[in-house]
Symmetry: C2
Subunit: 458 residues, 2 copies
Amino acid sequence: MRLLKDITKIIDPNRVIYGEALQAEYSHIWKMHEGLTALALVKVISTKELSTLMRWCYNNNQKVVIHGGKTNLVGSTESDKFELVISLELMNKIEELDPISRTMTVQSGVILEEVQQKASEASLLFPLNFGAKGSAQMGGIISTNAGGLRVLKYGMTRQQILGLEVVLADGTIIHSMKKIIKDNSGYDLKQMFIGAEGTLGIITRAVLKLTEAPKTRMSAFVGMKDYDQVVRCLKFIDRRLAGKLSGYELIWQESYEMMTGPMYQKPPVAHGYSYYVLIESLGGDLENDASHFQQIMEQSLEMGLYEDGALAHSESDLEWFWKIREDVHVLVSQGPVDQHFDISLPIPLIGDMIAKISELIRTLDGVIHCFPFGHVADGNIHLIVLKQHAEASLTNKINDIVYEPLKNIGGSVSAEHGIGTHKKHYLAWCRTPEEIALMQNIKRAMDPKGILNFGKIF
Amino acid sequence: MRLLKDITKIIDPNRVIYGEALQAEYSHIWKMHEGLTALALVKVISTKELSTLMRWCYNNNQKVVIHGGKTNLVGSTESDKFELVISLELMNKIEELDPISRTMTVQSGVILEEVQQKASEASLLFPLNFGAKGSAQMGGIISTNAGGLRVLKYGMTRQQILGLEVVLADGTIIHSMKKIIKDNSGYDLKQMFIGAEGTLGIITRAVLKLTEAPKTRMSAFVGMKDYDQVVRCLKFIDRRLAGKLSGYELIWQESYEMMTGPMYQKPPVAHGYSYYVLIESLGGDLENDASHFQQIMEQSLEMGLYEDGALAHSESDLEWFWKIREDVHVLVSQGPVDQHFDISLPIPLIGDMIAKISELIRTLDGVIHCFPFGHVADGNIHLIVLKQHAEASLTNKINDIVYEPLKNIGGSVSAEHGIGTHKKHYLAWCRTPEEIALMQNIKRAMDPKGILNFGKIF
């Protein structure tokens, strides 16, 4: 209670939630209805206020956990009853859109969909896009270095950030809010906070890089007989589209056939092929882009780069094609319990390795389905495993099957979602002891008392 | 001498150069004929050997300076007589080209031009390109986060690096040599070493990201009456080209008229306009790219986005246009002493601010010319000032005129070249005291004895 009294000297008591209210209104993860375990939750309204609060936390060894939109998938927002949760939800202003610099300046609590909308109103594009866009907040997105559907053309979150403002563990404000694209004046500090899952600092504001909005969007669904076609077709199309290829989404046969099963979307390409790829191109030439895309698709068919395909000829075709890929819920709903992976591995190895992994998983007692699909051009594959139960022994067996082969091939146990608490055990499977020691050295230097998202990542 | 004896126990004496040989054969900067001041220069041949050497240096408080191709422009390779210079020139192997992952694995001493050549043989592109490509080595390029002519489409060096191997101050080897594009497993450590000017670790190997080589290249030179046309034309063309715009190089009137003066190239567009822009597009559609580009250029002229222009119709036109922009020597040769800048500033402010800066510089006694030009779409402007003499008072006056206005507008004293020793005094003009304190905190954590490129950056 003394702690809470101190905190309400810094934060308006209306914005300090604790006790029953906390249990009733808050949870650590999006759309869950489990009460939040924490000392209290405070909603900050300015960088200065957060800085004062953190100075107090630092002096009092008070551990904190940061909440954005709580769409994190690896437990990075979990807290215990001694931890103070800091929510950025009230710092939700879009401060500026500069159409000439092509930048947007936002506070951390702004939701992705609002950023997309605001950019689009100025005929600009903020290219980041993924399922949770209606809830995910920019601070969390940056702290996770989120990926999503258009990394191939535009890169991950890291590539979209020009400036950051961050509050450090001791309350120091790091103000690096430049709109400039090139800055080699000393260390590029923002890189340290992007993807650090809130363990090195609390992001309060950001300058986002926007690009001119594309004018054309083409898509095709194709069926392929083997993985060799998948990579040869990627190379051919990418070269011909020269910068316009924005999506090359691979779906394995069993996933595609479920996604386009009798109860769901109708299949644009017949069932029966080993692989399906959804191709997207974003361009600026209203007159020629469609015919050029069609020509490339015809040529690739003639060259034997795929077996059968369908072009999207209308907005409703586009919607249909992409709904198949984006409606992951179809897969998740095929069993009572699901387990989800987002691994990275070198592109040439994906075909064999995912075949082997899926086969091993499917033979396990208690496994109903294993659905692979993913951003193959980025080397990032998702697996959704449906199980009859949530027993730890089965969960661990599946984790081992998926993560073990990544050890010796330069893969990653997390392409997009981060490590959080759920994957801590597996961090050492894809990073060397020297790398982890260096991470911990940096963590100690920047957060010597270990008060920021303690126990996350390592 | 005891030190040298110890070193030759680790490094073959044939690869340890000191005394007169050092003075005769080596210098700290490319194409200069000043002998090198250093304890000795050692040429390492493997990561393991370098690791052993650094462990010895760490235990003996031996400061080291790293040499790549010595094309650094800000004094980052300078050494004193107590420092050991480590050259990576013998670690010059291209280890692998993987056409499916589209990666190249190289040692640090490989020269940029070789990388470009090797990629091109596989119909791939390593997009980084700048004047010193025939000498600059990959380790130095990565340590400087070099920019150059195609940042607009492909990004700076940072965006081209997938993996790094680094030797730390105490000899620890950080092996992060993954080919994967997406990896959110803990901190992205490579980001710390990119652009750190060798102050945090010594880069020994890298995995480079390649892209499919473009099939078409279009260029136009245009003349503009005001800066408003420069930014409106950029926005229009960039949107229409939707990812294909790879160059938008702004040249101010006085620079253009010198570059296309009677003794040099003939002007593609008549003299007399306030600004000239050289536009480049790289695409993949052999049939339509040329007509599309021409159409866009015609449309922009009709819309009043420029006053007069010339399209490159042949390979020799392309060569002619780009020679004008790339042959910076024409400008440098207009006076006995030159002073060179590579500042960044927000795009909307460039027109007024560069006009003001140039005007002030031109009124100084001892100044012959001030030539501005640069990568305007990146917000990065170069200035070459020609002077009658190299007196420090004039140099400092010019520095103050250029750097002072950057303080309050979120600019940078270095877009590309880094801080080194030459710009240390000005670092605080574009980074906050909190930012610099954090940089120093990281430096202390990673190099507690301060033996790596001591005195560089800060």
